[in-house]
């Protein structure tokens, strides 16, 4: 009666469930013609300030909304509500990242057809969010000048999973002797060819270039849509 182990082949993606929900979300976003951008960064990189400015400026010409993920408080949603666009908080409890199903649930009461842009602010974390597709069109990774130029080398996985890098708090660059060329080189080392934008949400420096960038992406998306 001796037991002998037998190897049975199974091929299963552990994140299959998340990927399926993300794919369904992506299809819904595309059908509604809404451009979805997610934001990832470490805590304190200025995500919420950046998003508040983004929402305030974009709402002048576009229909915009945001989802914000946070571990515990609703402070970010309260701050973002000042931009006067629909904002919903996703409180993750102890979970360190957003998953596609949370986005799906949070969006249940919204009509995507009423939107041009949807922003999804992930939990401040440069590790865990990299594994989870949220169905977004664009993933922005933020790095503030106060964090040091080597952040991309310390967290290559998340930088590699992103589509655009945004260097924030540029107004503080002289004070912290931020070395733009080194930071740019490090970003390119872990994600060759990735566009890098630099700006200050506080002073408004660089915000126009950034808004041009994403509105061009929306136009591109709408251009690929087939209208009956």
């Amino acid at each position: 009666m001796g037991a002998q182990p037998r190897l049975v082949e199974v091929r299963k993606n552990v994140l299959k469930q998340n990927d399926l929900v993300a794919r369904a979300l992506r299809d819904q976003f595309h059908a509604a013609g809404v451009f979805v951008a997610s934001l990832v960064s470490s805590p304190g990189s200025g995500k919420t300030m950046f998003l508040e400015k983004t929402l305030t400026l974009l709402r002048q010409n576009y229909r915009v909304a945001a989802l914000v993920g946070d571990l515990a408080t609703e402070n970010d949603a309260i701050r973002l509500a000042r931009s006067q666009v629909p904002v919903k908080q996703i409180t993750t409890g102890t979970l360190c990242h957003l998953e596609a199903a949370m986005v799906e649930t949070a969006l249940a009461e919204w009509n995507l057809n009423d939107l041009d842009f949807l922003f999804v602010e992930n939990v401040g974390n440069l590790v865990c969010p990299s594994s989870y597709d949220l169905g977004e069109n664009l993933r922005l990774v933020l790095i503030s000048v106060t964090e040091g130029e080597d952040k991309p080398l310390k967290y290559p996985t998340i930088f590699n999973s992103a589509d655009v890098a945004v260097v924030t708090k540029m107004d503080l660059a002289p004070a912290v002797e931020f070395d733009w060329h080194t930071a740019y080189g490090n970003i390119q080392a872990v994600r060759p060819g990735m566009p890098v934008l630099r700006l200050s949400a506080k002073t408004g420096e660089g915000m126009d270039e950034y808004l041009d960038f994403i509105t061009a992406r929306l136009a591109e998306l709408r251009g690929t849509m087939v209208h009956p």
């Binding site: 009666m1 001796g2 037991a3 002998q4 182990p5 037998r6 190897l7 049975v8 082949e9 199974v10 091929r11 299963k12 993606n13 552990v14 994140l15 469930q17 979970l95 360190c96 990242h97 590790v127 865990c128 990299s130 594994s131 080398l153 290559p156 996985t157 998340i158 590699n160 999973s161 390119q188 080392a189 872990v190 994600r191 060759p192 060819g193 990735m194």
Partner: protein, 121 residues
């Protein structure tokens, strides 16, 4: 630290597979883990033991095969390894490449199940 929820998904998956095969006993789960999966091997191994507690997989092992990153090099027109995850360049000719063709795996590839000598299957 999202390794615990990943470990729980792995245990769940293995359990489903075992049930589909008539409730066989799983002694090990084999996993491919890419260097760009965003999951840390050591953390996953300890999370796995916790996730197995009080399940039919308790006492089973997680066997991890680490998968290095491979990119497609536009100059060599071939799949090439990276020299380091801090530098996405072809290890052979140095051309930068963002086209990852391997290294994001997080995949259950096999189960070791106990097979009894008298089992007609």
């Amino acid at each position: 630290m999202h390794e615990l929820s990943i470990a729980m998904s792995i245990v769940e998956m293995a359990q489903e597979e075992a049930e589909q095969r008539g409730g066989v006993q799983v002694s090990a789960v084999h996993l491919k883990l890419g260097a760009l999966s965003g999951v840390v091997k050591e953390a996953l191994l300890s999370a796995y033991d916790i996730a197995c507690d009080d399940t039919p997989l308790q006492g089973s092992r997680l066997v991890i095969e680490e998968i290095p990153v491979v990119v497609f090099c536009p100059s060599c027109q071939a799949r090439r390894p990276l020299s380091s995850v801090q530098l996405f360049c072809c290890a052979q000719c140095g051309t930068p490449s963002s086209e990852v063709v391997q290294g994001k795996e997080l995949e259950v590839v096999a189960l070791e199940i106990e097979q009894w000598a008298h089992n007609p299957a």
